[in-house]
């Protein structure tokens, strides 16, 4: 199982595109693998033939575990690797020093994934540290390469820190899996069904727990009069009707946010290991709900893109997000997120920050309400929004100013075209 995302710990075979007996060329996509973040295409490292599939469609395997045996067509395969055991025993290699001789296990070379940009960190752990972690149920993989020992070896002191001071080190929380159920729930009741989480849902559970327990959130809310913005959108869409392009309310919000972010650097920075990282460009994550779960593709450099460009790209990202076709780099590197539940009619909600981002905008439904305009009551299209902020990165006033600018741009929407 190759590492196709920085944070994946296991992967599920979406489906094999090459079956046993099929030959392939270097670079061919031989399988689709669901990581914690996306469905990735797994490209062959070399020419070969699938001799045996070990992990079948829909099945899950730990990082580094063999998922298939490849080699020359017609080559005999030893029986051993039929079980989903770690690679070593399965490899009938006469010369242990050489790698890549045939038949080799597809996942065996520790080469980085063809598309993932994460470099595979070798997990070096001192024996006592490993034993302590095992006893405590501590998963060390998130500390891989970050230990205090040589070459990042995780040593006893690191495990003691991870076990003892999780609250004191918010930037490096103990990577304990959150319980699958709430603490009050014990055994499932009769008729309940217990299901394993998909890799993506596991990642969401872990990351959200991490965020909500270690990032000091505060919230700033505002009501935005969307009357003019909706009018602008209507005009744009009429003008673009022939092109098939369409601008959504969300695109307007992304555009307004991106403009506001670059105007307010103090609300556009991340708190990382005691430092502030100021972001040069607004990479706006757009939360996309899936049947069960969500994914946040990132629209890069949104501050430099026109509303129309944003509309085209956002639509493409959302479509591919729903189809599970996002690439790893398209779900990384956000500096801000928009979570829009307007289409679900919610009147207000607050979102959990997606670290290391420091802000996330929760957008509720635009509802027609009486508003006072020029001293008279009129009908306004009012949208309620709540900005969640990491107080380590920005103050209340920073958050308020960011939100104020978003509001100003949406209420005077010609600014969105500027």
């Amino acid at each position: 199982m190759p590492r196709l995302s920085d944070t994946m710990e296991e992967g599920r075979i979406g489906r094999w595109l090459k079956r046993e007996g099929d030959s392939f060329r270097e670079g061919d996509v031989i399988a689709e693998i669901e990581t914690d973040k996306a469905t990735m295409e797994f490209q062959a490292y070399d020419d070969g033939t699938v001799l045996r599939i070990i992990v079948d469609d829909g099945e899950t395997a730990a990082l580094g575990a063999p998922i298939a045996i490849v080699g020359e067509a017609g080559e005999e395969v030893a029986d051993a690797p039929a079980e989903k055991e770690p690679a070593a025993a399965a490899e009938p290699e006469p010369e242990p020093a050489t790698s890549g001789s045939d038949p080799n296990v597809a996942a065996a070379p520790p080469a980085p994934a063809p598309q993932g940009n994460g470099k595979a960190e070798v997990l070096r752990v001192s024996p006592i540290a490993r034993r302590m972690a095992d006893t405590a149920g501590l998963d060390l993989r998130s500390l891989a390469g970050k230990g205090s020992g040589p070459d990042g070896r995780i040593v006893k002191a690191d495990v003691e820190r991870a076990l003892g001071t999780a609250e004191q080190a918010p930037e490096k929380p103990a990577p304990v899996e959150p319980p699958a159920t709430g603490p009050a729930v014990s055994a499932p009741a009769e008729g309940d069904e217990v299901r394993e989480l998909s890799p993506m849902l596991k990642a969401v559970a872990r990351r959200m727990t991490e965020s909500k327990t270690t990032v000091p959130h505060f919230y700033v809310s505002s009501e935005i009069d969307m009357t003019r913005a909706l009018q602008l959108r209507k005009e744009l869409n009429e003008a673009l009707a022939d092109s098939g392009e369409k601008v959504s309310v969300n695109d307007l919000i992304v555009r307004a946010s991106a403009q506001a972010l670059v105007q307010h650097p103090q609300a556009h920075r991340s708190y990382v290991d005691g430092t502030h990282v100021y972001h040069a460009h607004a990479h706006v994550g757009i939360a996309v709900a899936l049947d069960d779960g969500l994914i946040v593709p990132v629209l890069r450099d949104a501050d430099t893109k026109s509303l129309r460009q944003i509309a085209v790209e956002a639509r493409d990202l959302a479509e591919r997000a729903r189809a599970g076709k996002l690439r790893q780099r398209e779900i990384e590197g956000g500096t801000f997120t928009v979570s829009n539940m307007g289409m679900l009619g919610v009147s207000a909600f607050a979102a959990i920050i997606n670290p290391p981002e420091s802000t996330i905008l929760a957008v509720s439904a635009t509802i027609q309400r009486p508003v006072v305009r020029d001293g008279a009551v009129a009908v306004g299209d009012i949208m309620s929004v709540t900005l969640s902020c990491d107080h380590r990165a920005c103050s209340g006033a920073d958050g308020a100013r960011l939100l104020q600018t978003v509001k100003r741009h949406l209420e005077a929407p010609t600014l969105l075209l500027a």
């Binding site: 006592i128 540290a129 490993r130 205090s148 020992g149 006893k156 002191a157």
Partner: protein, 329 residues
């Protein structure tokens, strides 16, 4: 309890054993009237006479062989070899005869022989006279090899060695002779062979040593202690039999271990211990077993070079700190 030197502790043990058992006698070069090169036999020739404190020619092979013969015939010879460097000419007697006779005679004849001999370096005695060769003998079945680090153990173990029915190589150290320490007045005090001593208790790091290196290790432990690092020092006392249990128990507590010795590290005591430790407590280690020994060269005469070659406290301390750094301490 009274403070005595290591030298005096040995002398007293010899005196008391000569007095206790008429089968005990001493042999060696200039151990009589001259009282031995390091004065360990001071006064004994006068007290027990030339028959029980026997001067020998400069012929280690001859007098070690004579000692073996006497031991086979029921006496309990204590042979002094002026320094361990000179035992090399008697190697055949030690390894092929003393160590093997009980086995080759089907257990009917033993060799209750003690060979006392100092190793060590530091007095510019150069390449041929500055060696610590005890590990060579500790690899030989049939021998017992001990190397006490302080006066009390020297006294107690020499008595045990003399009373042992098999050959014991009793390793002393040139630098240790003037080291003082408390010693029980009780003449029946003995120290068993094959039992290591926890010379100092600690939690963060185990330093294992024998002979004079234990003294160095204790000083290193004091220095690290000032920085809040708690070091346990294990004094092996015996190299064969080797008390692995005491070492393992310590490593299970501290998870980190350094073996220091005055001999060369390669194929040395540290090499043996590293193998035993990784086997017995692999899952307890927080870092690989560290070793400090003499530089892998013949001992130089030049004082700066001699200091550079010796496993001084500064080197043990540096290795300990490096190991602790690897463990994030």
């Amino acid at each position: 309890m009274a403070d005595v030197t290591y030298r005096e502790a040995l002398r007293r043990a010899l005196d008391e054993e000569l007095d206790r058992d008429r089968d005990v006698f001493l042999m060696g070069e200039e151990i009589g009237k001259f009282e031995g090169s390091y004065k360990v036999t001071a006064g004994l020739w006068q007290k027990y006479g030339a028959e029980r404190v026997r001067e020998t020619p400069i012929s280690e092979e001859g007098f070690v062989g004579a000692g073996i013969g006497a031991a086979m015939m029921g006496l309990r010879p204590v042979v002094e070899i002026m320094t361990i460097n000179f035992i090399l000419v008697a190697m055949d007697q030690v390894v092929n005869h003393a160590a093997k006779i009980r086995y080759m005679f089907g257990g009917t004849v033993g060799v209750p022989l003690v060979i006392r001999t100092p190793g060590g370096a530091g007095a510019q005695l150069t390449a041929q006279h500055s060696q610590s060769l005890e590990a060579w003998f500790a690899g030989c079945p049939g021998l017992k090899v001990v190397a006490p680090s302080n006066p009390a153990d020297a006294y107690g173990m020499l008595k045990t060695a003399i009373r042992d029915d098999d050959p014991v190589l009793f390793c002393e150290n040139l630098v240790l002779y003037n080291v003082t320490g408390t010693m029980p007045e009780n003449g029946d005090f003995t120290v068993p062979i094959g039992v290591a001593d926890v010379a100092k208790e600690g939690d963060d790091l185990t330093i294992v040593a024998h002979s004079y290196t234990v003294q160095r290790a204790l000083r290193v432990a004091d220095r690290l202690g000032q920085d809040g690092i708690s070091v346990e020092v294990i004094d092996l006392r015996s190299l064969r039999p080797l008390d692995v249990d005491t070492v393992v128990e310590s490593v299970r507590k501290t998870n980190r271990v350094l073996v220091a010795e005055e001999g060369w590290s390669t194929f040395g005591v540290g090499a043996e211990l590293a193998a035993r430790i990784q086997k017995a407590c692999f899952d307890d280690l927080d870092a690989p077993v560290e070793r400090v020994g003499a530089a892998e060269v013949p001992m130089p005469y030049s004082k700066p070079l001699e200091l550079a070659a010796l496993p001084l406290e500064s080197k043990i301390e540096a290795a300990a700190r490096s190991l602790l750094r690897e463990c994030g301490l």
